[in-house]
C-alpha cells in the first residue's frame, strides 16, 4: 500500500481496457489491482479485537467482514459459533443497503429517480444505517420506502423505478451466458488453494476448468430463481429480488433461502465464508504451534468477478460492441457486477500495420 493519501492511498482499482479495430472492440483486458497482504495486519491485534477491526477497515461491507472474521477465528481456535439472528439481521440490512446504494450510484443516470423516489431511497438508507448499528426504530418504514421504489411488488408498474432500472440494464451487445456460481461446494477447493498459494491466489483466484462468478445473479441462478427479462435485465432483476428478500428478512416475514454463513475447522486453522452483497467472501486463519493466530487471508468477491479471465472479462470479450458504445456498455456491465473498488474503463485504438 502506498505511503500517504497524497501519494494516492490506494485501496485498489479495476481497470477495463478495450482495444478496437475497424470501429469494433477487438478485445478487452481486465486488471484488478488491490493492496496485498492487508489481512495480515489483523494479526497484530488480539483475536477478540479482530472482528471489529475488520469491520472498521473494510467498511463497505463491514458487517460481512466482521462476521466472517468472528466465525473464522472461532473455528481456528477450535470453537464453534452458530450464526444467530443478529448476524442475519445485520447481513440482510447490509445487503439491502449496498444493493440500493449501488443502484443509486451506478444507475441513477440511466434510470433517474423522481423527488419522491429519491426521498424514499435516502430515508431507506438512513434507516438501514441505524439497523446496522442495532437501532431498530423505524424499521417497519422500510416497507413503504421499498414500495415507493417498486421493489418487491408482485407486478410493478412500468413507471416504477424498479421497472425502469430493469429496462435501463438491457443491452443486446452482450451474450446471455449463464454464470458458473461460486458456492459452498467450492469452499474446500478455495481454502486448499489459499493454503498453498496465499496472497497470489487472493490476487488471481481461479478453479480448474471453471470461471466462477459470485454475487446476486450467481446466487439467483444457483437456487433456480425465476428471473424476468433477458440478458442483463436478469442481472438487475436478481439484485432487486435480493433487495425484496432482505426487506422480508428484516421484517421477519421470511427466512434465508440459502445459508449466508458457512464456517468450519481446517488443518491448523479455520475458515468462514459469508454471502456479502457482492458475493462470497472468505476469511481463512491458521494458528501456529503455540496456538496463536499466525496467518490470515481474505478473499473478496470482486477478485473472482474481475479476474483477468473471470466472468466479467469473458462476457466483455464476447460482446459485439461498436466503438462509440464501448465505454458506456462496458461501464454498465461493470456496474452490474458491482466492484467494491473504483472502476475505470478505457477504450484504445489498436495499432494498424
Amino acid at each position: 500500500m502506498r505511503k500517504s493519501l497524497d501519494q494516492g492511498f490506494d485501496n485498489g482499482r479495476v481497470t477495463i481496457r478495450a482495444r478496437m479495430t475497424r470501429d469494433m472492440v477487438a478485445d478487452v483486458v481486465v486488471d484488478c489491482a488491490r493492496p496485498r497482504g492487508v489481512a495480515s495486519t489483523l494479526l497484530r491485534f488480539a483475536p477478540a479485537e479482530i472482528p471489529a477491526i475488520a469491520g472498521r477497515l473494510f467498511a463497505l461491507c463491514g458487517q460481512s467482514q466482521a462476521i466472517a472474521a468472528r466465525h473464522a477465528i472461532a473455528a481456528a481456535l477450535g470453537r464453534t459459533v452458530e450464526a444467530n439472528a443478529m448476524d442475519l439481521r445485520r447481513l440482510a440490512a447490509e445487503r439491502l443497503s449496498e444493493h440500493l446504494r449501488s443502484c443509486l450510484i451506478g444507475w441513477s443516470r440511466a434510470a433517474p429517480l423522481n423527488a419522491l423516489e429519491l426521498a424514499a431511497a435516502r430515508q431507506a438508507l438512513a434507516i438501514l444505517q441505524r439497523v446496522l448499528a442495532d437501532q431498530l426504530d423505524g424499521l417497519q418504514d422500510i416497507d413503504a420506502h421499498m414500495a415507493a421504489l417498486g421493489v418487491g411488488a408482485a407486478a410493478p408498474a412500468d413507471t416504477a423505478w424498479s421497472a425502469r432500472l430493469i429496462a435501463a440494464a438491457r443491452d443486446d451487445a452482450f451474450p446471455d451466458i449463464s454464470p458458473d456460481a461460486l458456492s459452498p461446494a467450492d469452499d474446500a477447493a478455495v481454502i486448499d488453494a489459499l493454503a498453498r498459494s496465499g496472497d497470489s491466489f487472493v490476487a488471481r483466484p481461479s478453479l480448474p476448468g471453471r470461471r466462477p462468478e459470485t454475487g446476486a445473479y450467481a446466487r439467483a441462478i444457483a437456487r433456480g430463481a425465476d428471473l424476468p427479462g433477458s440478458g442483463f435485465s436478469r442481472r438487475m432483476a436478481a439484485r432487486l429480488i435480493e433487495m425484496a428478500e432482505a426487506r422480508d428478512l428484516l421484517l421477519g416475514r421470511a427466512v434465508a433461502s440459502l445459508p449466508w454463513i458457512s464456517s468450519g475447522m481446517i488443518e491448523n486453522g479455520g475458515y468462514a465464508a459469508v454471502e456479502t452483497p457482492r458475493g462470497r467472501l472468505y476469511h481463512v486463519v491458521w494458528r501456529n504451534v503455540d496456538n496463536a493466530l499466525a496467518r490470515y487471508l481474505i478473499l473478496a468477491p470482486t477478485e473472482w468477478n474481475f479476474a483477468a479471465d473471470g466472468p466479467f472479462a469473458h462476457l466483455a470479450a464476447q460482446a459485439r460492441l461498436p466503438a462509440d458504445r464501448a465505454t458506456d456498455s462496458l461501464a454498465r456491465l461493470a456496474a452490474l457486477f458491482d466492484p467494491c473498488v473504483a472502476c475505470e474503463t478505457r477504450v484504445d485504438e489498436a495499432q494498424h500495420a
Binding site: 500500500m1 505511503k3 497524497d6 497482504g37 492487508v38 467498511a59 463497505l60 446504494r101 443509486l104 450510484i105
Partner: protein, 87 residues
Amino acid sequence: MCIAVPMRIEAIDGLSARCSARGAERVVSLDLLHDSPLCVGDWLLVHVGRALKPVSAEEAHATWEIFDLMLETPESPDRLDADAQKP
C-alpha cells in the same frame, strides 16, 4: 477489498464537500447523506469519492491508526507467497 477512508470536512458546498486526510484533499459527494446534519470539522467515511456515513472523530482516528499499521506492513507478507507462481 472494500476499504473506505475517514476524511475530515473542510468546507461544504451544497451536496459536495472538500475533505482532507493526512494532508491530502478530495472533493467528496454528499448525495447519499442528504438528510444528515453535517458541519465543517465532522468526519466522513469516504469510498470512491462518496461519503458513506458520518463517523466520530474518535472512530476516524482509530481507523487511521489501523491504516498506519497497514502502511508499515510489507506488501506481500504471506509466507508462501514468494513461492507462488507468477502470471
